[in-house]
Symmetry: C2
Subunit: 368 residues, 2 copies
């Protein structure tokens, strides 16, 4: 399945900050076919560093999508039955308008003049695409981590447009610890002189700062256990300790490699804007209790968390479930035993796939 | 109790790497009096970013010592009974020879020409000071985190010089995750152009990189819970969200402040050398099982861990305890319920103080 991203352009979008962005483009990929009733559409929502390439093999890079083990013919998101699509988020750097896009007013990249965006803004732009497709109601909105935040925002902001919502390894708001890890990444980028106040598009990007930010991220995505299994204290290409400051341990080599690779595919300013959107996200901001906010949703929910995920711990998913239950909303919850930490929703998917397949099928029977 | 650091100079020290460092100075503070039998000496061992100022009020800065709540008249390490002293570690930047010291051969700071050091080297230099004092046997070696590594190394390397060993919130070796967090800190420093290959002593230090490294450290020293209690999602000096990239949340403000403060008291090259020493540390390196290595110790052990410490989790302390028990060694172990994460050994000390007081008293009665 060779896939290619498409782009749709809209005249403008009004943002939560009050600013207007004009024009705005949204990149997406799709898999499977929309049925005549347009009742089989599933919007898959990517995590922080993901993009629209969720499944199949990309026509340019030849890389599989980030959820290719979940999306495809006969898979959990079965493209023989469903029309599955995924968009790059607003503020991103993979086809959708973001800080690296050209500001038509100045004919230069927005850089840090890009307006601050929110999870609500990302979802609003997705809704414009859904309208463009003429889809009255999404069979499902589903995603892990920041994708789960969007799945929650969809269910609350557009209750009549969502049949089911699947927030996975996610939360209704970042804790101080989650904000702190994001802040370290932002500081690492902004400390790099090459960041230059965000104006690096005609010179070199802040590669060292972005790499350090990514290294922190990778540690938080894995579990203590999975790092031990993958690396232990194995030495890198050495017979014995050669005391020094080159790479000693395999885990160091891995982190440096992942950090340096990230620079080739991700924009540092997008890193700043998207992590801020995650930190700002608070489904129950203001005086309304979470239960009242989630009570506005009419979707069926499937909430999934992973036992070894210490970045988005299960208690955050359970908070969602308790609030929904207290409002008599239809919610299924499973904490899956998995060893891969936060990455589990991407990696260790056998049980997750079964859960999602069954949940979607039972709903689709009723709707179709 | 106003205190002042002293320094002792030795001709040279032979290091684990094979290199010789000459001369070598060691800074220490002491509290209480050595008795005539020299049987009441306790060596307290600091953690990564600590120094010799463990107790009392410093004569220059007026700051209390890092374990002042544990050391003093009537406290757990009771200076009415014991002679307590603490040294700055080899490789440090607070009086003991380290990369910022002048290399007599070049009359310039060692910088990255400083030899690589190990926890074993730190302990060897401490033993030279103990010999200098004429102390035949230390009543106790005690410390948290990297201090605990030294307490273990003392008990194994110099079994006839140690009556009791108190490794607290520590480990016999760093896990891949612990190495990974240290590596991020090192990369943040080395990515700062001001680091300049370690040669910054006649210009400005890599302040931004060192601050980012320290921010990562602070997150790992706290628990998810204690960060929530301390900061939650409180906004910094704002009535409401003013979307932007200045400081929004109190936790961001705290981390930036702690990061920038650290630069005033810590040398970036010492950061590199000391974290490497921690990562290299492996009490059971080579083919010998841990039990055999720890079996060489003759000390009584008190091992303490903290329930919310996710950086040095309790399983690492329990590994020490199991190995000692399997060799019929005298070991007491307590996992304390505490909310402050790894910082608990510095902060939440009521129960810890009682444990240490009782353990020391029961041993001292037998010895004295």
């Amino acid at each position: 399945m060779i896939v290619e991203a498409n782009t749709v352009k809209f005249d403008s979008i009004k943002l939560d900050s009050g600013a207007t962005l004009a024009p705005v483009e949204i990149a997406y990929e799709s898999y499977g076919r929309l049925n005549a009733a347009k009742s089989n559409a599933i919007l898959v929502l990517h995590a922080f560093s993901g993009d629209a390439h969720a499944a199949g093999i990309s026509h340019d890079g030849g890389k599989p999508g980030w959820w290719d083990n979940m999306i495809g013919p006969g898979k959990a998101f079965d493209t023989n039955k469903y029309f599955v699509f995924c968009t790059n988020v607003l503020g991103g750097c993979r086809g959708t308008t973001g800080p690296s896009s050209i500001n038509p007013v100045t004919a230069a990249p927005y850089a840090m003049s890009f307006p601050v965006i929110t999870i609500g803004d990302m979802v609003r732009l997705q809704r414009m695409l859904v309208d463009h497709f003429g889809i009255p109601k999404l069979l499902a909105v589903a995603g892990g981590s920041m994708g789960g935040m969007q799945a929650l925002e969809w269910a609350v902001s557009y209750p009549d447009r969502v049949v089911t919502s699947l927030p996975i390894a996610s939360t209704v708001r970042h804790s101080a610890q989650q904000i702190a890890f994001n802040e370290v990444g932002r500081q690492a980028i902004m400390a790099d002189p090459d960041w230059n106040g965000g104006n690096y598009y005609d010179s070199k990007p802040p590669a060292r700062g972005l790499a350090v930010a990514r290294m922190v991220g990778h540690i938080t995505y894995m579990s203590d256990d999975s790092m031990r299994e993958k690396f232990g204290r194995r030495l890198r290409d050495k017979e014995e300790f050669g005391f020094g400051f080159d790479v000693d341990f395999e885990v160091e080599s891995y982190l440096r490699y992942r950090g340096s690779q990230f620079v080739n595919r991700f924009d540092a300013n997008s890193y700043l804007y998207i992590t801020k959107a995650m930190d700002y996200f608070d489904l129950a901001a203001g005086d309304r209790p979470l239960a009242a906010v989630l009570g506005a949703a009419s979707a069926r929910f499937l909430v999934i968390s992973f036992s070894s995920d210490w970045l988005y711990p299960s208690y955050q998913s359970q908070e969602i479930v308790r609030a929904l239950r207290s409002m008599n909303r239809d919610v299924a919850y499973v904490e899956l035993e998995a060893n891969y930490g936060h990455d589990s929703f991407l990696v260790d998917v056998a049980e997750q796939a079964n859960l999602v397949r069954g949940f979607l099928a039972s709903t689709f029977e009723r709707v179709a």
